[in-house]
């Protein structure tokens, strides 16, 4: 299995290969290139691209014999890991990452897969499903250019210096694809809900949705959990005040502090990476325009407090930017995206395109209405939340490094990044390992009994005498790292109990 990987030379691009292909296409000899929808690095010769895809396709076909529902998930070769994700029926995303001696390249497969998942769901949110795009335009040119620009824009966020830094073991106390919530007191929560009510009434009979963020944290949403997650990801990537004030550099702010490339460097990097893009686009620019929602530095705050961008183009004649649109995952409704920002508060409104008969005009009327009816309330809520917010380290729990995931609600909370960096490498590696085992066990559990969530617990003592504890109960997971702790297991388990009682309403204290 390691054959193909071993054969390639170790260029920097070899560290990461990433492809998307459609099993329904290019089934005849000579048409193999048809199936490639995306390949990174794009400059890899087609034969090399095809060999990666061919291997993957072969494995998928083979494993489907035994498990038609969930085929291949991962191949661990000597020097590479292949991570599979079936984004849509017969449309596969495969990421090939090189294993290297340097320990920074120790990944958790699920963490990599969650990157794939995130790319896909964000793509679908802005462009619709890949299958639908392909059906609309069987040639695939449009789909390819959409995917290429989109994913390249996405990947710039992982650029550090010259190379991509994928989520590795240092990110073990993070869970991609979940939402981080702001914890608010009852009174503030009521104020927020009252604001949501006002927003609803501003959107009157359009059946719109609202999402409210404070800093990089979710405060309220009326969307389904999946759509909330996607919009939250996009919001924290491109819309929050921190990102706007940093001039458009995405930092994965909450997740990625510390190793952010300078803005100029990043810009040049993206320019280089995307230079191929221009050639890609030019010949067909008459036929379709590529919208790049993840392009950096394109959002800015207007005078009226609404965020504006020209990503979606500019109305001919009056230079007014076109209002962005996106798709809801569940209902597949096309929505206008309106973002209002006041200090740390970001309010995202989604309005069904179909209910806005007079398009842009209706949107600007709605904005006017929002300014008239809701601003007072927005100011009040912002003030209240700002007063109650404990700052970046608000959710730090002394002595603990933790990650709490509520799988049902797609919510996670973790020790602040600044506190995680104080951990020893050994501890994080141990945690990474425990999480890997846990993922495996969980997946197995899901196959065994669909409706019955198993309670799980793993508790180990790492080489550096840190305790790594993972518990899972009724859809919730808790990972705790205790360094400099007492050596008895009793101590560790009591510490978890205490944490659970204090911060999780005793959800993990079942005994």
């Amino acid at each position: 299995m390691g054959l193909s990987s071993a054969a390639t030379t170790t260029t920097p691009s070899d560290l990461l290969k990433f492809c998307i292909f459609d099993l329904r296409r290019g089934q005849h000899e000579g048409e193999e290139l048809e199936k490639i929808l995306f390949f990174f690095p794009a400059d890899l010769p087609f034969p090399a691209q095809l060999s990666v895809i061919g291997l993957s396709e072969g494995l998928i076909t083979f494993t489907r014999i035994f498990s038609p529902e969930a085929a291949c998930e991962v191949i661990e070769a000597d020097m590479h890991s292949h991570v599979f994700f079936e984004a849509e029926p017969d449309i596969w995303m495969v990421m090939v990452v090189a294993k290297s001696k340097e320990t920074e390249a120790i990944w958790r497969i699920e963490a990599l897969r969650s990157v794939l998942k995130e790319i896909h769901s964000l793509f679908v949110m802005f462009h619709g499903s890949i299958r639908v795009l392909l059906d609309k335009e069987p040639g695939g040119g449009l789909t390819r250019s959409h995917l290429f620009t989109f994913i390249m824009d996405y990947l710039t966020d992982f650029l550090t210096g010259n190379k991509f830094t994928l989520p590795n073991f240092r990110d073990s106390l993070k869970e991609r694809g979940t939402v981080q919530m702001l914890t608010v007191g009852r009174e503030a929560a009521i104020e927020v809900q009252s604001l949501v009510g006002v927003l609803d009434s501003c959107m009157a009979n359009t059946l719109g949705y609202s999402v409210i963020l404070f800093q990089d944290l979710l405060v309220s949403t009326t969307l389904t959990p999946d759509d909330t997650t996607n919009l939250f990801s996009y919001g924290t990537l491109r819309l929050t005040p921190r990102i706007l004030s940093s001039g458009g550099t995405s930092t994965w702010s909450y997740l990625r502090k510390g190793n952010v490339p300078s803005q100029a460097e990043l810009a040049s990097r993206s320019a280089n990476t995307l230079s191929a893009l221009d050639g890609f686009r030019d010949p067909s620019s008459d036929n379709y325009r590529i919208v790049r929602p993840l392009q950096h530095g394109k959002w800015s705050k207007g005078k009226d407090g609404f965020l504006v961008t020209d990503i979606w183009g500019v109305e001919v004649g009056n230079l007014v930017p076109t209002t962005p649109t996106l798709w809801l995952q569940q209902t597949e409704h096309k929505m206008y995206l309106c973002v209002y920002q006041h200090k740390s508060l970001t309010i995202i409104l989604l309005i069904p395109v179909t209910s806005m008969l007079n398009g842009e005009e209706g949107i600007s009327m709605l904005k006017q209405q929002l300014l008239e009816n809701a601003s007072a309330k927005i100011f009040k809520v912002e003030e209240k939340l700002a007063k109650g917010w404990g700052g970046e380290n608000a959710y730090h729990v002394k002595g603990y490094r933790y990650l709490l995931v509520d799988g049902d609600r797609n919510i996670s909370r973790a020790s602040p990044p600044g506190k995680v960096t104080t951990l020893a490498k050994e501890s994080l590696l141990a945690l990474n390992k425990v999480r890997e085992d846990f993922d495996l066990e969980k997946n197995r559990g899901n196959v065994d009994a669909v409706n019955h969530e198993k309670d799980l617990e793993i508790c180990i003592r790492a080489k550096n005498n840190a305790w790594v504890i993972a518990r899972s109960t009724r859809g919730k997971q808790l990972y705790i790292l205790l360094e400099k702790a007492n050596e008895t297991l009793l101590y560790a388990s009591e510490a978890v109990e205490k944490f659970s009682d204090r911060y999780c309403n005793g959800a993990f204290s079942l005994d």
């Binding site: 608010v184 929560a189 009510g197 009326t222 389904t224 049902d408 309670d455 005793g506 005994d511």
Partner: protein, 710 residues
């Protein structure tokens, strides 16, 4: 009092105030004059040697008069002492004569000099004196010495007096002096002591430079509303009604109201100011609670209600001539509202001197509330009504219910809800919302203000007047019983108590409680049962509208720190569940906007039958509320036997029978489960191994396919 107005739904009539037939007839033969003793609420008619008095509070038309005999002589004015043991009759400009009712003894008090004219006198419950003579030279304060049957001069207040006005409800005497009689000195003689108000001038417009209009006593009115004392002064030239408010240390002009008549009369009904434009025969209502000078409603005439029809009156008249004449008199009355003989008595009475009829003026709350579309302000108005609190309350409930059903814009409903909640919170604070049935409550005694502590002081001494009707200005605010009620009400509604749901109040307020409604304030429970619960069915198609209202209600209640009944949360859960807004429901529960309670938990479980996350919320809530039994039973229902057993053991839940677990695990058809359950009971329940249950299930286990040994 409210019974007078009960049946006639007068909203159809174009009138906001009415007088109710039959009036109190206080005419007797040989009457020489009618006097109003407002200290004792008596209407007094004097003949040459008799004093006939009618108690006019509580006001009924069939009150029996009492008669006292005095010696013959001229009568300028009569007042009973506040304990009604003495009768004081002013015989002349310098003599007041006294009768001791028990013994018939008499004595008199004369002014020292002929020139020192007695303008009038009044009895007082002031701590230092019993009776006050108002003379042109000032006030003489006397105390009565029963043993000696004399008056003892306690104090004099020297000032020139042209005329004076006094009302017992304000305990305030205003003394007019000066050429134009527009310069005033005031004393408040309350049980707390005597307060001298700073001297002040009333403003009067001049028709031309040289004219000096003289202010007449009938143009000045002392008015008590919401426990505050105002003075209203008619400026006939400017056609304005100036108002002044009295504070302990200041008199502050409050602005002016327009008048449309040369003759103005003022009544106060239930703290609402009625300005009678006598010439125009209309009334304008003002509610000056918030210093607003906007009339409550347009000027409308006074109405007589319940007047007997022609046929009835004729049949009556055939019986008695007297009745016949009365009927004609009545017909005259209806034709001659605001006749010249009408005398307006403080605070809400009208006496027709010509016929001897005494009428009480009432407000038609229905008509007032129907006449305005500004629902929130109508609600505010109704919430302040005390006299017909029950009616006001029902009107409020009807109003809020109907605006919800009419789907009025949310901001209006939010304001309406806020009005009701704020008013309820206020009534809790002042203690007027108590179900223990204190029937008497003083009017709201003034909002806290800077130079407050006003002229009105609480009557703390035991030397209080006989029970006075509500709205009469007895300022007693504290007796121990009230306080305990207040505390009760407080613990019931303020946050932070640990009422388990089963102990909390039943929703439907019983008849008995309703009959004792003393405040129009509406508790959250009532709002739920009469409004939210009852509109729920009609709002099925529009649950998000209703939900928004409930959120606003929870918000208002939270701001006022009022506890909300779990049923409201249950309704909120149901509404969200109906719209499948499960994610939001989660936020509401996790943020504790929907407060945990057993009812809510059960509703979550119910809603959770369509949504697993919601069900988990319900389960978690049960666990957090330590409702162990329910939690364990639910776990068993879900097939989580082992967790249920572990939990039961940890929290010592003994109420769940072993057979429940055994049956459930047996029904699951999984020998491992059954074996584990059996093993658990064998280990932790002593003697379980010898029970018949044990052997039954051991056998059952053995019969199961692929059995394992325990």
């Amino acid at each position: 009092m409210s019974r007078n107005t009960s049946s006639s739904g007068g909203s159809g009539a174009l009138s906001h105030a009415y007088i109710q037939y039959p009036p109190l007839k206080c005419k007797n033969d040989g009457s020489r004059g009618l006097f109003y003793d407002d200290g004792n609420k008596l209407l007094i008619s004097s003949t040459s040697n008799q004093v006939v008095s009618w108690k006019i509070s509580p006001f009924t038309s069939d009150v029996v008069s009492t008669t006292d005999t005095i010696s013959e002589g001229p009568v300028l004015s009569i007042r009973y002492s506040l304990d009604t043991k003495l009768i004081a009759v002013q015989r002349s400009n310098n003599e007041v004569q006294f009768w001791v009712k028990e013994t018939g003894e008499t004595f008199s008090q004369k002014s020292k000099s002929e020139s020192d004219t007695i303008l009038g006198f009044f009895w007082t419950d002031c701590a230092v004196c019993d009776i006050v003579f108002v003379k042109t030279s000032g006030l003489d304060l006397y105390s009565y010495v029963p043993e000696l049957k004399t008056l003892d001069l306690v104090d004099t207040k020297k000032t020139n007096v042209s005329w004076y006005i006094y009302t017992h409800e304000s305990r305030l005497v205003l003394l007019a002096s000066g050429m134009q009689c527009k310069s005033f000195t005031g004393y408040q003689l309350s049980s707390a002591g005597i307060i001298r108000l700073p001297r002040f001038e009333m403003g009067m417009a001049k028709s031309d430079v040289n004219s000096k209009p003289v202010l007449a006593a009938e143009d000045v009115h002392i008015v008590t509303v919401y426990g505050r004392i105002y003075c209203l002064q008619v400026d006939r030239v400017a056609m304005l009604l100036h108002s002044y408010r009295f504070y302990r240390d200041a008199v502050i002009q409050q602005g002016s109201l327009p008048v449309y008549s040369n003759k103005i009369a003022v009544s106060v009904v239930d703290n609402v100011l009625l300005i009678h434009q006598v010439d125009a025969k209309v009334i304008i209502l003002y509610d000056i609670f918030a210093d607003s000078r906007t009339p409550v409603s347009a000027p409308l005439p006074l109405l007589i209600r319940g007047l007997p029809r022609g046929s009835i009156s004729s049949s009556q008249s055939s019986k008695k001539d007297a009745e016949a004449s009365e009927t004609t008199l009545l017909n005259d009355t209806s034709a001659n509202l605001y006749a010249d003989d009408w005398n307006f008595l403080v605070p809400d009475l009208v006496c027709d001197v010509a016929t001897g009829f005494l009428w009480k003026i009432h407000l038609d709350l229905e008509a007032i509330s129907a006449s305005s579309s500004e629902v929130p302000s109508v609600l505010e108005f109704l919430q302040r009504r005390k006299l017909e609190a029950k009616k006001a309350k029902n009107l409020c409930l009807d109003l809020i219910r109907s605006i919800i059903i009419e789907r009025r814009p949310l901001p209006i409903i939010f304001r309406a809800i806020n009005v009701l909640v704020t008013s309820f919170a206020y009534s809790l604070k002042t203690g007027s919302y108590s179900k223990a049935g204190k029937s008497e409550k003083p009017p709201v005694s003034g909002v806290p203000e800077n130079n407050s502590g006003t002229a009105t002081k609480p009557d703390t001494s035991g030397k209080s007047v006989k029970t006075e009707p509500s709205g009469s200005g007895s300022f007693s605010t504290s007796d121990s019983e009230d306080n305990s009620n207040f505390k009760k009400a407080k613990t019931k509604f303020l946050e932070g108590e640990n009422l388990t749901p089963s102990e909390s109040q039943p929703l439907n307020v019983s008849e008995q409680q309703e009959s004792q409604v003393t405040s129009a304030a509406i508790s959250p429970d009532e709002l739920y049962s009469y409004v939210f619960a009852s509109v729920e069915e009609e709002m099925v198609a529009d649950s998000s509208y209703l939900f928004a209202i409930i959120v606003e209600f929870i918000r208002s209640a939270n701001m006022e720190k009022i506890k909300v009944h779990p049923n409201i949360y249950v309704l909120a859960v149901r509404l969200l569940g109906r719209n499948e807004r499960y994610a939001e429901l989660g936020q509401f529960v996790l943020n504790k906007i929907i407060e945990p309670s057993k009812e809510v938990a059960l509703e979550l479980l119910e809603t959770g039958s369509h949504n697993i996350e919601t069900k988990k919320l319900g389960l978690d809530m049960l666990r957090q509320l330590s409702l162990h039994h329910d939690y364990v039973v639910l776990l068993v229902q879900d097939g989580c036997y082992l967790e249920a057993l572990r939990y039961a053991r940890k929290h010592k839940v003994n109420t769940v029978r072993p057979s429940l677990f055994l049956e459930a695990s047996y029904a699951s058809n999984d020998p491992q489960h059954l074996a584990a359950v059996l093993r658990f009971f064998r280990d932790f329940i002593p003697g379980f191994a010898t029970t018949s249950e044990h052997s039954t299930y051991i056998r059952a286990l053995a019969d199961m396919p692929s059995s394992i040994t325990v």
